[in-house]
Subunit: 359 residues, 4 copies
């Protein structure tokens, strides 16, 4: 279990980094949505590592195939199966992993849970499974855009101690993609790249924060009490590899404010209800209020480092381990399209749920 | 929808603050668990406002009745329906609410979504619906304790700028409940109470952070990739009224660390696998690793303040509104048992899910 | 688990015959549906035993209370909790049941599954749990009628060897309720009543077949492949106590036909697509086609008989048992409103599912 | 939606007859189950048409590939993706179908529901989607056998008016597969084959009944009230293409019996609880009682016949249509492995559900 996300716009992903491939089945997509491989490939290309000097060089082709669910370029309403073959799989890079548990990875917990694990490349817990999410998210993204004019933009807001200044309600994907580190503040981006390259040369890693802004969501999406819109967003983000925290609107900063400072007054602009501030982050009582939805996700410095670490092996003997193989000094840039994809999946699901109950 | 939580230990809650009552149905509880009203009442009593000078005075009786699901003091395996009558309901306190939307409340969004709302007392979006959660959580809590020796302790870690110093792995519920503000650091608690009473007299509100530590969870709970244990905890916490953020283990602080600093080395202690640090917060790859599970939840300063605010009415006309009625200057102490209850629900569900797939 | 039905129009039932009461929570009902206790009470009254000479005399009051989910006579979109107190509970009537398993009842299997059972009155497996279903079904029924003009009529088609002749597409509820046995063919009804009274005097029971016709369902409801409309109807009916079989359209009789005889040709009538025969029973490829939906459910002669039977006890010793207490010689008349209620729940769920995906 | 089956042993299928292929994702399979393509291929080979003279000749290769979820021949506990390429796809065989609706097929209803349909070969509603079910069912079947000793045997009990005599509790798969028509009564099988060949030459079709017996299920599987074991079996069977009815144990025949005749007395044999008759079909109160589970499924004469029929086209004009292309005079033999596969999926799901709640 645990491999399906959503109720009405439902995604099941499968695959590991060293099997036949990775993929996803999207069930419940509305019919007659124009859809081709190109729509999905563009999102996958944003996710692919090896795009610049700051990420680990890999040659994964990541070509998506739509195996079912469309006809003459339109969705049928039947399940859409997406598949991406694994090309760059080098099992031999991890032989030591058969017996040792890498610290802060999933090796030990998978062994404890299942009594078996695919020690080649990290198996299902590796970031490769996010390929299916991004592919499925591309479909949701397109439907949201065509049916509701929803626009989702995420960017790297912070890497280690370096923060960028960004206007969330104006930032565009083009500005985000202007640099490999995906921070639209070009000066901060320059310093981030410098830091990441330094960290890479040290065989270490750094983390940071991805921020996301969603524009165009109408009031009414969200299902109190348990499936509040921010609750489903939180679950989506904390299901990503390396995620450590989620905050909506003012987030943790709200504890420094009083109610008088934090409340968002209502006003009418152009005949629509708006709030003059947006500490709510676009969601009140678990339901969207029409203002931009704003949230941030913290990602840890990933665990694969090129240093020797204390650990234990499958016989519960203390030992050491030195990292080898794929090493990303900072996964933040790659997390940006994955955060957008999960956001699209959550919103598409809630759009359909709202339509179901309220027409 | 949105009123059911969990897959195998499943809870459906119902009720608003000004209807007949509030309740919950718990489905999937293992059979032959000793259970009486007393087990649940003790948790409900912790939740009830009016326990001290720092919360709004109310006389809610909150007596729980078990309407089904037990026999001769043991659970049957059939659904357990819990009911708490509403006693202290004063609809007249909110007459103005029929026409005006309170800022940063759910009034506007409920109206936008459903086209109708119960304006008396906040309806389903009020904190009263958490009664059902706490009642259901009490059952989960007992089962976890008896079947796995799991212990859940939450406390108030911060109110506005005031933080307490707590040893998470030793703190007990008795220490937490030593003061009405539920911070085990007595000095910080004293200052917190002072602040809250000052804020109350100003008709304002403050927020803060609740921290939680779970001890005794064995390795193996959690369902990658979407139902990671921290993802379900995040959803549970962000489904609580007034919640604004969630972080697991090192949380947002991890962005200030490198991989070398953040990784948790494995060692063997007493024949068991442990980590010498616990930035993972007890969860790796979405699955528990046997170390204490640590997380924090941020709560905003609640929206009901005794000041005049700009707002709009149901005819989309700009107007003002001055808060009246129930006013809690700080909901953090009351959030503690609710955070514990949701934690119990998540863990019980995952315990059963793990048992299903892996025996 | 197993106590929730439906995905979008979702019902959770609870309660046994000898606890506090029985009830249901309906989640996902569209908002602003006019709803009062009277709407539900009328359906419950149809279900109640003791309505005539042919069923066992009981004085159950079965008054429903709406505990949440409505406001000023309209549904809110929030969960609707319905409750019916147990009045006529005579535990002492079943003392012997604490130790012996009644043949063809659920006593043995509940004990085997849960290791505990409420031996008073049959617990959760008794027909009393159907109260919650009928109450919830009343809400679905009303919504279907107001939103889509759907009309559901069921009747007793056969008791033992006696069959009635009925025009399914014209039969009305008034005709069905003209006699206590609920067969609109008055001559057959007379013979059925005669048979049932004879069987009652012999302390025995008989079964039969309930038939149902649904008019007004538009084309398009149903979710291939697993949630075909007839598949969900089959599950709904085989979840009823005493049910033994389900058939749609031509049902088992189709095996006596060839394809040429069985196919339903399409024609146009009044600008609408119709079929000139209806062996499909209104469903093709798992989706409604606009023709009346026709199905039949077989019910066994219930197991409580007033004769001595061979059985075993909780110590796995062979023994005998003679039935006492509540004895219904034929449950078919009471099954009619329950079949209608389950039909309404299935159709409401599918109506919302179709609206979600296809608008 | 509608493309996922099961809660804990969960299957999502995808694919149509004229797309890239068909497949299934199995989620929740217990880890460390020995599994290779051969286990699945043997079940698929039983399903494949063109095995004899009595079914339509086709050359589908139906080679299954396991794309994920196993490692060194054992399941990992992660999702298992199975894929079968479409080889024998001749779109041109159905050109007329772009505009005309075949009677008693899903053409009209899919068009009505989705506003679009893949008219080549019947799309998602064709029997080809059952490939994914059979593949997934093979995994469930193996797990059930190894973990519980459960054995599932189905056979053709009736074709048109011809019935076979079979001892359900002794029949073996070898006896079933002794003839292409899969009726273990060789004399009846001979007459069935004769009939089918005659019907084929007439361009017509016939239906029949598949019967199934499951041995080895322990007491305790099933989740009252809505997920009774027979209810989930009924749903599984009525989700199969061409199914028209389901009956459990005595089924519709029970209406000819009284309670005294129908009840199954309990006795002790070899220290175990048994019933001396089995009208219950192995399920009481929705839960298995340890006796063999017995049920029957009626299949209609399929709709593709080689005669001209009245129908309508996409412009709602009356017209005629003459069937061409693939023509199976009788799908009963092919239904046998599909019925077994669905049975395995239902039972595996319930086995895990029982283990979750009751250990």
């Amino acid at each position: 279990m645990g491999n399906t996300f959503g109720h009405l716009f439902r995604v099941t992903t499968w695959g590991e980094s060293h099997g036949g491939g990775v993929g996803a089945v999207v069930d419940g997509c509305p019919p007659r949505l124009p859809l081709t491989e190109a729509d999905i490939q563009s999102e996958l290309d944003r996710r692919r590592p090896g795009q610049s000097s700051i990420v680990s060089p890999r040659k994964e082709a990541d070509r998506v195939e739509i195996l079912s669910g469309t006809f003459e370029g339109l969705t049928l309403g039947t399940p859409i199966c997406l598949w991406v073959r694994n090309v760059d799989a080098r099992p031999e890079a991890y032989e030591e992993m058969a017996r040792k548990f890498r610290p802060s990875h999933a090796d030990y917990t998978y062994q404890a849970k299942y009594g078996i694990r695919n020690w080649q490349g990290g198996g299902r817990s590796s970031a490769r499974e996010t390929v299916g999410r991004v592919a499925a998210g591309a479909i949701a993204r397109k439907w949201l855009r065509l049916s509701h004019g929803v626009e989702i933009v995420a960017w790297v807001a912070q890497v280690h101690e370096i923060t960028g200044q960004v206007d969330p309600e104006k930032v565009t994907r083009e500005q985000v993609d202007a640099t490999p580190v995906r921070c639209p503040d070009l000066e901060a981006a320059r310093r981030m790249i410098e830091l990441i390259e330094k960290v890479r040369s040290e065989g270490d890693t750094v983390g940071g924060i991805v921020e996301c802004c969603v524009r165009g969501v109408p009031p009414g999406w969200g299902e109190p009490v348990f499936d509040r819109l921010e609750a489903d967003l939180a679950k989506a983000m904390l299901s990503l590899p390396a995620s450590k925290g989620f905050e909506i609107g003012s987030g943790f900063a709200c504890v420094h404010m009083t109610g008088r400072q934090h409340n968002d007054p209502f006003r009418i602009r152009d005949g629509r209800v708006v709030t003059t501030t947006n500490h709510s982050g676009g969601i009140q009582g678990g339901i969207s209020n029409g203002m931009p939805i704003r949230f941030r996700v913290a990602f840890k410095p990933v665990a694969t480092i090129m240093h020797e670490q204390d650990t234990v092996d499958v016989d519960l003997q203390e030992t050491t381990l030195k990292g080898r193989g794929r090493h990303d000094p900072c996964v933040l840039p790659r997390a940006v399209p994955i955060v957008e994809a999960m956001t699209a999946l959550v919103l598409a699901d809630h759009a359909l749920r709202h339509r179901a109950q309220c027409g």
